[in-house]
């Protein structure tokens, strides 16, 4: 037999070629969805006007369109749609990391309790009416809540100075419930008007996005994506077990800390700008693994693109189904995600039995 074997079709749904085609397809779909998303809403904007506006604003080409359309497209719809992509990508990435970290397919970005902490802080800012808190802006307050929760969970989730995944999972769930209790108490005290705002935020929404929401979230998700791609092999090694990963040169305590921090940062910025959007981080990594197998050098890029496209699509649906009113994004992701989770559980059980 010749010493060097060429890559052959693997055991997954898509081989290397299918994978490349899928990535390209997702990128094209992402662009198309963003254009559709910008055109969709209470005031529909034709695709030609969308393209004309973006051409003038981004490249300085052409004369653009009338001022009202220009403002709707550039100041409201475009940042909102881009943010939907970034948040979807960031939540999916965090989901990949958490599932690898605790080696449990049912983990999602919220098991660390980070989202509950962000919600509690945001609710406090919205209901207690503390001017200083509100003056910071809800995203900043929410991120501070996420960061504080993360520090607490990290401190509680350690054994002998090192992250212990099962203990951290329990710490995350416990701190999450505590924060949820705080949020519930604050809701009881809130006026009906405040309560409506709080609920809309907690269920997740991209309404009211402005350009200022984008830079930090985009930078965090991009940096995290690069770092995680660099660590793709170490993530695969982690799936072989702690001992195997150690024996193959992974500095496990440091790597775990790295993963927790990156996942919490991604989750924190996503929740800060868009509220609690569930099921994306749980569902998208599974879809990616189903298509291209579990190797992280393939799962990570695909999850980023799929997650981004998915949330842009959901955001479009939220603006269409009850137009001119909007649905919270989290309701739609849960409507799709919960049946998916049930299907996943039944599928896993079938494999074990068979």
């Amino acid at each position: 037999m010749s010493s060097v074997s060429r890559p052959r079709p693997g055991p997954y749904l898509l081989g290397p070629r299918g994978h490349a085609a899928l990535l390209a397809g997702c990128a094209v779909a992402g662009v198309a969805l963003v254009l559709v998303g910008v055109g969709t809403g209470a005031v529909p904007v034709p695709l030609g006007d969308v393209v004309a506006t973006l051409a003038r604003r981004v490249f300085g080409w052409g004369d653009g369109v009338d001022l009202a359309t220009d403002t709707i497209v550039w100041e409201y719809r475009f940042p909102r749609t881009l943010l939907a992509f970034v948040v979807g990508a960031g939540l999916s990435l965090a989901g990949v990391l958490m599932q690898a970290l605790v080696r449990n397919p049912l983990a999602d970005p919220y098991v660390l309790g980070v989202a509950s902490g962000a919600s509690a802080a945001a609710t406090a800012a919205m209901t207690l009416g503390i001017a200083a808190l509100a003056g910071l802006g809800i995203p900043v307050v929410a991120f501070a809540g996420a960061a504080a929760t993360m520090v607490a969970v990290l401190a509680l989730g350690r054994r002998n100075g090192r992250i212990d995944p099962p203990r951290m999972l329990l710490a995350g769930v416990a701190v999450g419930y505590l924060m949820a209790a705080v949020t519930s108490y604050l809701q009881l005290r809130a006026t009906p008007e405040e309560l409506a705002n709080v609920l809309f935020w907690i269920l997740g929404s991209l309404a009211g996005t402005s350009w200022s929401d984008l830079p930090v979230a985009t930078a965090v998700v991009l940096l995290a994506a690069v770092l995680v791609l660099y660590r793709a092999t170490a993530l695969d090694l982690l799936s072989l077990g702690d001992d195997a990963a150690s024996s193959l040169g992974v500095d496990l305590p440091r790597f775990r800390l790295e993963l927790v921090l990156v996942a919490a940062l991604c989750t924190g910025v996503a929740v800060a700008v868009a509220g609690g959007i569930g099921f994306v981080g749980l569902m998208i990594p599974h879809v990616a693994r189903l298509l291209v197998g579990p190797a992280h050098r393939r799962v990570v890029p695909l999850s980023l693109l799929l997650g981004g496209c998915y949330l842009v699509l959901v955001d479009i649906l939220c603006r269409v189904v009850r137009a001119p009113a909007e649905l919270p994004v989290g309701i739609v992701t849960a409507l799709v995600g919960a049946p998916f989770l049930i299907w996943l559980l039944r599928r896993d059980r079938g494999e074990v039995a068979g």
């Binding site: 037999m1 079709p9 170490a234 150690s246 024996s247 040169g249």
Partner: protein, 265 residues
Amino acid sequence: MSDALVVEGLTVHLGDRAVLGGADLHVPQGAVVGLLGGNGSGKSSLLRAVYRAVRPEAGVVAVDGADVWRELSARAAARRTAAVTQMPGPLELSVREVVELGRAPHASGWGGLSDADRSAVARAVDSVGIAHLVDRRCTTLSGGERQRVLLARALVGEPRLLVLDEPTNHLDVAAQHDLLGLVRASGTSAVVALHDLDLAGAYCDLVHVLAGGRVVARGPVVDVLTPDLVREVFGVAVHVDAHPLTGRPRFSTAPLTITHQEEPR
């Protein structure tokens, strides 16, 4: 030339409990050394300290003359020592992907496979007879096949020392012999934790016996595993003779309560 593995004065704590208190172990170049001892005697802890999964409180672990904990990085140590560990539940990766991960300590940052990596993978899967399985998912393999995959993952890194922690657990008899035969055939220096005295007798050049966190006996199998030591350490009576088929030492064990005069039923 220094020994493939030198362990001296190894002390390992799990939480507050000392599981090893000054254990010594030597693996000469090219030798297969068996590590024996009852459950909880510290076999796994010793091996984990060798492949850098648990940091010892005190003592030295040196592979080919280099101190694994003080002189080598995690990756540099991983290039010298490869471990066959237990798989953590179902693994969806393909056999080829798992074996390729054994090259990770040799890979550079972004981790594409070089031609050298690919030919090492081809050699490793050939040498343990799993070339026909490379495109299967690990979840679809039998226990014996899975252990071969893990052995290929260890051999593909071209290590100077193999560490195997009870690699024959849950394997059928044929697979047990196959696996240890492959370890011997690889020619790599190896330390193997085993429960089965006959397998130790058949495949190990030397054995070390752990009890109470220390190595209490070491040497060739027949010299070490005397009836007295086996009674002392394992709490069973034993009769040692030569295996009628292989000539290797054979251990017939019985509970201590049995008397030698009792007629076989």
